[in-house]
């Protein structure tokens, strides 16, 4: 059964159906979209259950010639890393649909409701596609094409500065993508294998200099996408201006493509170059961690703040990827998922707040805790997950990253650890300003979470807590894939000897 193709086709068909719903009947469109996304989720779960961690690396593989002239295939397949990320997308989309129930009715909306949800479903298809692609060209196609629905979602349904943010988002990503295109072409031409299939291209480039150039092309695109410091400036704008649902997908899934790309393509295709560039990347990551955290502290806009926290978190993920140890790699992968849930929850809750108050600025709130305890409660849980409180899902992954990094790069790991402290500051301070303190006048009018909103946050909170205590299912899936990756990179398996030697000195 062509699981992955079905997974992509269902949302696309759904999007078409949504787009064809009669004008003015927004409710039908919403229900349809929700239905489709739930179906996708169900299918994803059905597929994930069949995934055997001990089986071959890529499963559910489908390969067809697409454009033989360019050696391009329609090649999809998932390993553990891709699987969990697809699952992440599949989980987030129905939640986002539900959360965005009224987003498209917002005063800025220039479009019909149905367009928003159709775009959302198209985006879902592309997100699944980008993770599922085993053909580099196909990956690139999804990588770029994904921008368009997101661009329209931000530009049409976003906040006051939406068009600026949308253009900035698009151009940054496009520019990165185009440089990647050069590298993709270079890879194809230099490898001379007349194919873009990822498995066949592993180890195709041997020349170190070539590797470095191509790596640079790929890495730049991913760094912009991820976003890694200093390529991050588009993210706060885009995330702050996007409607909450879109922001969740943007930060929760889209940006993961960057780190996913680093792990999957940069490392495996250009192992030597990766090692060569590792110090640089680690420096960037560490700077990103600290910088993101510090800047986040200074933010007055909730969504911007959350966006900056993400920059900090992406630093961790990149650090984990490039530490090239099993723990760090698995941690980074897990972090991608967990970050998706926790930041998603934060964005959604921020969205609820904004929907009530009509303002993204922290100073406009206060005393939310007293008026709407449920809202404040989930806000706290999501926030604590964001600062990686033990017992919540992020902790596991962050810890694994730091541990894994420490094994190999001690100093960066230690510096990064300060990021955890800074995280406590920005999250708690924000929570305090919003939920604590005297109740602001407009906040008194707030209603607590309604049923829809509860349905939105409940699964996320459940996942955050659940994965915090029992991440094993995910790690089981992830670990073999990360091992595979590191084998391709041919890093010498970390041996305690080095650590001892390091410790001994």
């Amino acid at each position: 059964m062509p699981w992955l193709t079905i997974l992509m086709a269902v949302p696309v068909v759904g999007a078409v159906l949504v787009a064809l719903t009669p004008k003015g009947n927004g409710k039908l469109a919403k229900q349809l979209a929700l239905g489709v996304s739930v179906v996708v989720l169900a299918l994803t779960i059905a597929m994930a259950v069949q995934f055997s961690p001990k089986g071959p690396r890529f499963q559910f593989v489908e390969t067809y010639d697409w454009i033989p002239r360019f050696g391009v295939h329609y090649g999809v397949g998932v390993d553990g890393i891709a699987l969990v990320l697809i699952a992440l997308s599949a989980v987030l989309v129905p939640i986002v649909v539900l959360a965005s129930w009224n987003d498209a009715d917002a005063p800025h909306a220039k479009y019909s409701v149905k367009t928003y949800f159709a775009l959302l479903l198209v985006l879902e298809a592309m997100m699944i596609g980008v993770f599922a692609a085993t053909d580099i060209f196909l990956f690139y196609v999804f990588f770029e094409a994904m921008l368009i629905p997101m661009y329209f979602m931000i530009g049409s349904y976003g906040g006051a500065q939406r068009s600026y943010a949308a253009v900035k988002f698009l151009l940054y990503s496009l520019f990165g993508g185009l440089l990647m295109l050069v590298a993709v072409i270079g890879l194809y031409v230099i490898a001379g294998k007349n194919t873009f299939m990822f498995p066949e291209l592993i180890g195709a480039i041997q020349d170190p200099t070539t590797q470095k150039w191509l790596f640079a092309g790929f890495f730049f695109a991913f760094a912009v996408k991820a976003p890694l410091w200093p390529f991050h400036t588009w993210l706060p704008d885009a995330a702050a201006q996007a409607p909450a649902g879109a922001a969740v997908l943007l930060v929760g899934v889209l940006d993961k493509v960057g780190t996913y790309g680093m792990l999957r393509f940069c490392l495996e295709l250009f192992p030597d170059a990766s090692k060569y560039f590792t110090p640089l990347v680690i420096v960037l990551s560490v700077v990103g961690i600290i910088y993101g955290a510090i800047v986040a502290i200074g933010q007055t806009d909730m969504k911007r703040l959350i966006a900056y926290t993400s920059i900090s978190h992406f630093g961790f993920i990149a650090l984990g990827v490039f530490a090239m140890t099993n723990d760090a790699g698995a941690g980074a992968t897990l972090y991608m998922v967990n970050h998706g849930f926790s930041t998603g929850a934060l964005f959604l809750i921020a969205g609820f707040l904004i929907a009530r108050r009509g303002s993204p600025y922290i100073e406009d709130y206060g005393g939310v805790q007293k008026v709407t305890p449920k809202l404040a409660g989930v806000f706290l849980i999501a926030g604590l997950s964001g600062l990686s409180l033990p017992g919540l899902s992020s902790f596991v992954s962050e810890f694994m990253v730091l541990l894994g990094t420490y094994e190999r790069y001690m100093v960066p790991a230690i510096i990064s650890a300060t990021g955890v402290i800074l995280a406590a500051i920005y999250i708690l301070w924000m929570y305090q300003r919003i939920a604590g303190g005297p109740t602001a006048e407009p906040v008194k009018e707030f209603k607590d979470l309604n049923r829809r909103e509860l349905w939105v946050v409940a699964p996320l909170i459940a996942l955050i807590i659940g994965l915090g205590f029992y991440p094993k299912p995910l790690l089981d899936v992830i670990n073999p894939a990360v091992d595979h990756t590191l084998v391709s990179v041919q890093v010498e398996k970390f041996t305690p000897a080095i650590a001892e030697k390091g410790a001994g000195q």
Partner: protein, 517 residues
């Protein structure tokens, strides 16, 4: 006089597509001469469209029946794979452009009437129309066919002129803003004639060097004639100037925005698509067939030209406030991308043929999208004609989401976003260039693509994310023909963006044997 002349032979069968077009043009002139006024349009339109379709069928027929191994008409016209592909593309593009032309509203009622005069008003009221545009278009298209397939410089020059002269006139026939249109016509004419003179002088020098204007003989002479390198280089440079002008490469691009803006939009569509295709056909023939062995001499200059063209096209486009001017600059930038392909020659014939096929594919997809984009432009109207100022396009997405969506799609195709045909066009050329060692050019191309994306995106922002103006333009109800053009262009852009393989195969097949000499 002294000696006898062997009566030449002409392979009418091979030249049939061209002959059909020219024949139809002549019939068109006769219709103008003899048919009563009220009948003219209803005769001209079928004649024009059928002749193009017929010529296209003949091209297909020739493709099926196999290619000749030597040039037709005593070596004057090379009917080879690339020629047939270019012919097919030009005919398709001309056909769809002609569908746009059917909308009389774009053309002046009486060209001879002074703008603003009573005569003009009267002509408009009485519904006067110049049905001469159809034969003129046919002549121009015939010229394009000849230009793209000429195997000697003289025929190329004749083709160039046959193509350009009707276009000069057609440019001046816009119904509204006639002063602008007439100015465009004059500028195009003066600069076009100027560049033809350069082409011609270059041809003279090359002839002086090689003793022949036959491309193959020039190519031979490169190896055998010595001691006249200066003359050859001067000739090469001048020829290049003439050709670069026609494709609108910097620094000879100045005419393009003016002309594109002033000309009636359907004609702009024809120029932006058909002329570009034909001109690149000629450029390839001159630089690959005739001067292919001289690539060490022309390549560095061409690098500069390509880079300059891309940069100028992309950067100046940003500052434009008129949609047609913007598309003109975009066309300049695309000419630059295509030049990358021209430069990417290889020492291996296989390398060359893959580059050639990439260029041909690019031309096809760009041409179709361009026609579609200009078709959209014709539909956005103000009281004074087309609302081509960008500010008037604000909020178009709100008024007419379909139209704005389609236009945005074309713009994305120009920008080279995946899943549009434009992406594969660019991709194909870039691959060929990287494979043939022009990676730095590709990087410049990519960077300028990103810059270019900025102004495309800007238009999309304007259409979708800006508040519509209170007295915004109206969206004309498209005529069936215009709607068909837009639908077709959009469909091709999508289909070739997803399944380019069949067309790529076709281009490969056409390019496999390269040019016959």
């Amino acid at each position: 006089m002294n000696g006898t002349i062997q009566a030449p032979t002409i392979e009418y069968g091979l030249l049939a597509p061209m002959l059909v077009i020219f024949g139809a043009a002549i019939i068109g002139v006769l219709v103008e001469a003899f048919a009563p006024r009220y009948l003219r349009k209803s005769i001209q339109v079928p004649v024009t469209l059928l002749s193009m379709a017929g010529a296209f069928v003949l091209v297909i027929f020739q493709v099926i029946s196999g290619l000749p191994s030597s040039a037709a008409a005593m070596g004057a016209v090379a009917v080879d794979g690339p020629s047939l592909f270019f012919w097919g593309v030009i005919l398709v593009l001309a056909f769809v452009s002609t569908l746009l032309v059917l909308d009389d509203d774009n053309f002046v009622a009486s060209a001879a009437a002074v703008p603003g005069s009573a005569a003009e008003e009267e002509a408009e009221i009485t519904g006067g129309a110049h049905t001469e545009i159809y034969p003129l278009i046919l002549f121009a298209v015939g010229g394009m066919l000849l230009f793209a397939s000429a195997n000697d410089l003289l025929v190329m020059f004749v083709g160039l002129e046959v193509m350009s002269l009707p276009l000069y006139l057609l440019c001046g026939l816009a119904r509204r803003r006639r002063l602008l249109s007439q100015e465009a016509s004059m500028k195009y004419f003066l600069l076009g004639a100027f560049s033809s003179a350069f082409f011609l002088y270059g041809m003279a020098f090359v002839y002086g060097f090689a003793g022949s204007v036959d491309l193959a003989k020039i190519s031979q002479a490169l190896g055998t004639v010595g001691g006249m390198d200066t003359m050859l280089l001067i000739g090469l440079a001048l020829l290049g100037v003439g050709l670069m002008f026609k494709i609108g490469a910097a620094p000879f691009q100045a005419w393009k925005p003016d002309v594109y803006q002033g000309a009636p939009t359907p004609i702009t569509a024809l120029m932006a698509s058909g002329t570009l295709v034909a001109a690149f056909g000629a450029v390839l023939r001159v630089f690959w067939v005739a001067l292919g062995n001289l690539d060490w001499d022309w390549r560095p200059v061409m690098w500069g030209v390509a880079i300059l063209t891309m940069v100028v096209g992309a950067i100046l486009a940003i500052t434009q406030t008129d949609i047609k001017r913007m598309l003109a600059y975009s066309s300049i930038a695309h000419a630059g991308f295509l030049l990358i392909g021209v430069i990417a020659t290889s020492t291996q014939p296989e390398g060359n043929s893959s580059t050639l096929s990439a260029i041909m594919f690019y031309l096809l997809v760009y041409g179709i999208s361009t026609v579609g984009a200009f078709a959209v432009v014709t539909m956005v109207r103000d009281a004074g004609g087309e609302a081509s100022h960008l500010s008037r396009w604000a909020g178009l997405g709100k008024r007419s989401p379909m139209l704005a969506g389609v236009f945005a799609f074309f713009l994305l195709a120009f920008a080279g976003i995946p899943l549009t045909s434009g992406f594969f066009g660019k991709y194909a050329v870039f691959v060929a260039a990287v494979a043939n060692g022009a990676t730095p050019l590709v990087i410049v191309g990519v960077i300028t693509s990103a810059i270019a994306a900025f102004f495309y995106v800007r238009v999309i922002v304007l259409m979708f994310f800006s508040e519509p103006a209170a007295d915004g333009p109206t969206i004309a109800v498209p005529s069936a023909a215009t709607a068909a053009v837009i639908t077709l262009a959009a469909a091709v852009t999508v289909v070739l963006g997803v399944f380019p393989q069949p067309v790529l195969d076709l281009a490969d097949k056409a390019a496999s044997a390269l040019f016959i000499r």
